[in-house]
């Protein structure tokens, strides 16, 4: 068995999501190859070769792949999968992976399993459906299995310790269907709620809207987004686009810090898929503590500034 993984990178740095995907491939078993496709991305291939568990790095370095346009990359991946005999094609379930892999699957005339959270056997996987409110166990019936992997569900393999060979891939596909026009990199440390790796949210315990400044200071240190509970929004502290759990605002960051939030189920439903939940609340009985990995019973007006100082 052999697995081809599409490495996540920006032509200079291998992104950590790749390591979680390698972990899923290791769970499946067999040889693991990483495909680095981009332009001027030798450095990424060098990093990829270090990743534990990877036996081979394929490097497709060409101007046509510079912005990893799906129209150009998908035919390359499909061709490699077919000609090099890969049984699995995996990518992280990032916007890059989600953009590319279905195009690959269709070119291979196979289905795709999106966002898997566990490997049950060589052909059976679990994946969340209905925004994580149900978990489906799905068996793939295709010869080549095309899969995107939810990073937070797999602990990353080590970034170093491997010594894979690097092979150049010379095939160039330029469909000339699309072109890169530009990008706006979010330079701010305040990401969108739904995309944030860390979220700090305030509830009615914040007392008023001005006190959310306390959370913003912590957020600046952590590169976090600032959210709010429905009760805080209803109380008029903050605008409703900050409400976690609202339409489309189901969040699943790596770290969710709930400050002065009692933990009404409406709020829990919006953030329960977070990897690590921290609750800071002075009410020991608050339901939020029933789901928090780390609970701190304290007055938030003492604890939050202290947290900021210690970060």
């Amino acid at each position: 068995m052999a697995t081809l993984i599409i490495a996540e990178h920006d032509n200079s740095i291998l992104k950590p999501a790749t390591l979680n995907t390698v972990a899923a491939a290791v769970a499946i078993g067999g040889d693991v190859a990483l495909l680095v496709v981009g332009e001027g991305c030798q450095a990424v291939a060098d990093q990829a070769a270090q990743v534990a568990g990877v036996s081979k790095v394929l490097l497709a370095d060409n101007a046509a792949y510079g912005h990893q346009l799906a129209e150009n990359v998908a035919p390359l991946v499909a061709e490699l999968a077919k000609t090099a005999g890969f049984d699995y094609v995996l990518a992280p379930a990032t916007t890059t992976g989600k953009n590319l892999l279905p195009r690959v699957a269709a070119l291979l005339d196979v289905g795709q399993l999106s966002d898997i959270v566990s490997v049950e056997s060589a052909d059976t996987f679990k994946r969340p459906i209905y925004a994580g409110n149900a978990i489906a166990t799905v068996k793939s019936l295709d010869a080549i299995k095309v899969i995107t992997v939810r990073g937070t569900a797999f602990d990353p393999v080590a970034a170093e310790g491997g010594s894979a060979s690097i092979e150049a891939v010379t095939a160039v596909h330029d469909a000339a269907l699309s072109r890169f026009v530009g990008e706006e990199v979010a330079k701010s440390d305040r990401p969108e709620l739904t995309a944030a790796r860390v979220i700090i949210s305030g509830g009615r315990g914040m007392g008023n809207g001005e006190n959310f400044a306390l959370l913003e200071k912590v957020a600046d240190k952590l590169g976090a987004a600032v959210g709010a509970s429905r009760a805080a929004v209803d109380a008029g502290f903050v605008p409703n686009d900050m409400q976690v759990g609202q339409t489309g605002k189901i969040v699943a960051p790596e770290l969710y810090i709930a400050v002065g939030i009692s933990g009404a189920i409406q709020h829990l439903a919006g953030m329960k898929d977070s990897k690590v939940i921290v609750a800071i609340n002075k009410d020991e009985e608050a339901p939020i503590f029933q789901v928090a990995d780390y609970g701190l019973v304290a007055d938030l007006f003492d604890a939050v500034p202290e947290l900021e100082a210690k970060l």
């Binding site: 429905r230 209803d234 109380a235 609202q246 189920i265």
Partner: protein, 560 residues
């Protein structure tokens, strides 16, 4: 947005009949209108507006349904697939003494109106979904997601129709990008079938003094849950009713109400408690009464090991015959629970609401055939109503509720047994109950506090966890649909006098008194509202006015 601006922007549409609310009364009326039009080969346009996001989304009832009116509407209702499939197999009536004891009342002593042979355990929401399909097949325009927000009048004061609410108004009252002005729906006759305490019905009753010859209306709050239970404990068609504990606890003397537990199909039971809203102790919380009730062995025997599927609450109009207002006015009729046609002696309002719709449809169709003018008073309805079984049924039951209010559960029950079983509801006395429910609260300081147990998360639950299961949602960015006439009353009057009972009578956690450094603050969590209308009814200062939120908001009850 001023009303003048709205009125200038609004478009209008004309129908023969506009019906407000896709419940059993409104849909039955719509269907009967179209059936007659087809038979007479007469062109008729009928439109039903419904504030729920779909038909049935806001419908909540027990329900054991008596099919009498359905048979009249569709003699072939079974072949058409009406969702009444679980026939009642057994009636059991209990009087609960305390948290563990229950006495079964022998069937021979149960008022006849409480016998359910020939009736069905069903979801009224699903029945309404089915009725709406039948109505649409007949050519009725059914518009879910559109809330009738105001009554329109002709210059002569007769009802002209209704306007649907504006969509896309922000919480600050300013139009958002998605702003869509409401529509005026004009009709020759408008039927108001909003259910209990309809917010337009309330305005009409006042404007036309429809209740001037009636006793004050009386209400109950029904709270209901749907449970999946262990198949081994499931007895489809078994129907339990009763009263007593927990409403008879210390300090709650005089509180009345009753419970139900019905075995439906699919290994599900529904369990609920109706608390009469004339209770006097402001510390009482109907929600918590219901939660603790489920721990009684009578309920726990079925619920233990099961899983709660859904939760909801709705006020019911239970004043009956004596409280029934005049149901006609120029250009409009008030029907079903919007008027108060529920038969409390049977604890059933579906067949009576449907019948009121049927009778109205017949009177309206006939009247429009003879006189096509707008704004006429369909006074023929009153005679048709009086000649119908509906009137007879309500008349015979007129003393049932007042007897319970006056004499208590036990003596009132005995009166009802004599009246209903021995005299067929024809005892030559009429009991009246003349104090409005909101005026019954005693000051908090003079009322014993009630200590409710904490929910265990298995049989009993907290309010917000419960509301979550009602699938309630309102667009967040809109003005609150729970309006205070005077914003100072909750903290200035209600809190010192009655410990602000809204915190406890609301079964959805909408009202809270939040302690802040600057003192207590009254918080309205309008997003939680399940549209039960209890606040509009029970607020002792009559300061809360329930108006419709943006169409489509509110609960989304499945199978309720």
């Amino acid at each position: 947005m001023s009303e003048a601006v709205n009125a200038a922007e609004r478009e209008s549409m004309e129908f023969d009949v506009v019906i407000v609310g896709a419940g059993p009364a409104g849909l039955s009326a719509a269907i009967r209108l179209m059936q007659q039009a087809q038979d007479a080969e007469r062109e008729l346009t009928v439109c039903v507006v419904e504030k729920g996001s779909e038909v049935g989304a806001h419908i909540l009832s027990g329900a054991v349904i008596e099919p009498r009116a359905l048979v009249e509407l569709f003699p072939d209702w079974k072949e058409r697939g009406a969702p009444l499939t679980t026939a009642v197999t057994e009636d059991q009536i209990y009087l609960l003494g305390d948290a563990t004891s229950a006495r079964r009342i022998p069937n021979a002593l149960v008022p006849k109106t409480m016998h359910n042979h020939g009736n069905y355990v069903a979801s009224l929401g699903n029945l309404c979904r089915w009725l709406a399909e039948q109505a649409e097949a007949l050519g009725v325009e059914v518009f879910p997601g559109f809330a009738a927000s105001e009554v329109l009048y002709h210059a002569d004061g007769s009802v002209k129709g209704i306007a649907t609410g504006d969509m896309g108004i922000g919480h600050d009252g300013q139009p958002k990008d998605s702003y869509t002005p409401g529509m005026e729906l004009h009709a020759k006759v408008t039927l108001f079938t909003e259910g209990c305490r309809g917010h337009l019905g309330k305005q009409l009753i006042e404007k036309f003094a429809l209740d001037k010859d009636a006793d004050p209306q009386h209400y109950g709050l029904g709270i209901k849950e749907l449970w999946d239970i262990d198949p081994a404990k499931h007895q489809p068609g078994l129907v339990l009713h009763g009263s007593g504990w927990p409403l008879t606890g210390k300090g709650q003397e005089g509180t009345s109400g009753g419970f139900f537990l019905y075995h439906a199909d699919n290994h599900q039971v529904v369990v609920g408690l109706i608390v009469d809203l004339n209770y006097s102790n402001p510390w009482l919380s109907p929600f918590d009464e219901f939660q603790r009730m489920k721990h009684h062995p009578l309920f726990a025997q079925y619920l233990e090991g099961g899983k709660r599927v859904s939760y909801g609450a709705r006020a019911i109009t239970k004043g009956g015959f004596n409280s029934l207002p005049k149901m006609t006015m120029p250009g409009a009729l008030l029907l079903g629970c919007d008027a108060g046609t529920l038969n409390f002696s049977k604890i059933k309002g579906t067949h009576t609401a449907m019948k009121s719709g049927l009778v109205a449809a017949e009177s309206v169709f006939k009247a429009l055939g003879e006189n096509d003018s707008v704004g006429q008073d369909i006074s023929a309805y009153t005679d048709a109503f009086k000649a119908s079984w509906l009137y007879d049924e309500l008349y015979r039951s007129r003393n049932f509720g007042p007897a319970l209010h006056k004499f208590g559960t036990l003596m009132g029950g005995a009166f009802n047994f004599i009246d209903q079983n021995l005299c067929g509801g024809k005892l030559p006395v009429t009991l009246h109950d003349t104090r409005a429910d909101y005026a019954q609260l005693t000051p908090a300081a003079q009322s014993p506090k009630i200590d409710y147990p904490k929910p265990d998360g298995k049989l009993s639950f907290d309010k917000l966890t419960s509301v979550f299961l009602s699938n309630t949602n309102h667009e967040e960015d809109q003005p609150s649909h729970l309006q205070l006439k005077d914003a100072s009353i909750p903290i200035g009057t209600n809190l010192p006098t009655w410990a602000e009972p809204a915190q406890r009578f609301c079964p959805a956690g909408v009202y809270e008194v939040v302690e802040e450094a600057s003192g207590p603050r009254f918080q309205i969590n309008a997003q939680n509202c399940v549209h039960c209308k209890t606040c509009d009814i029970k607020d002792p200062s009559q300061n809360i006015t329930w108006v419709v939120p943006e169409g489509g908001g509110g609960p989304t009850y499945p199978n309720m």
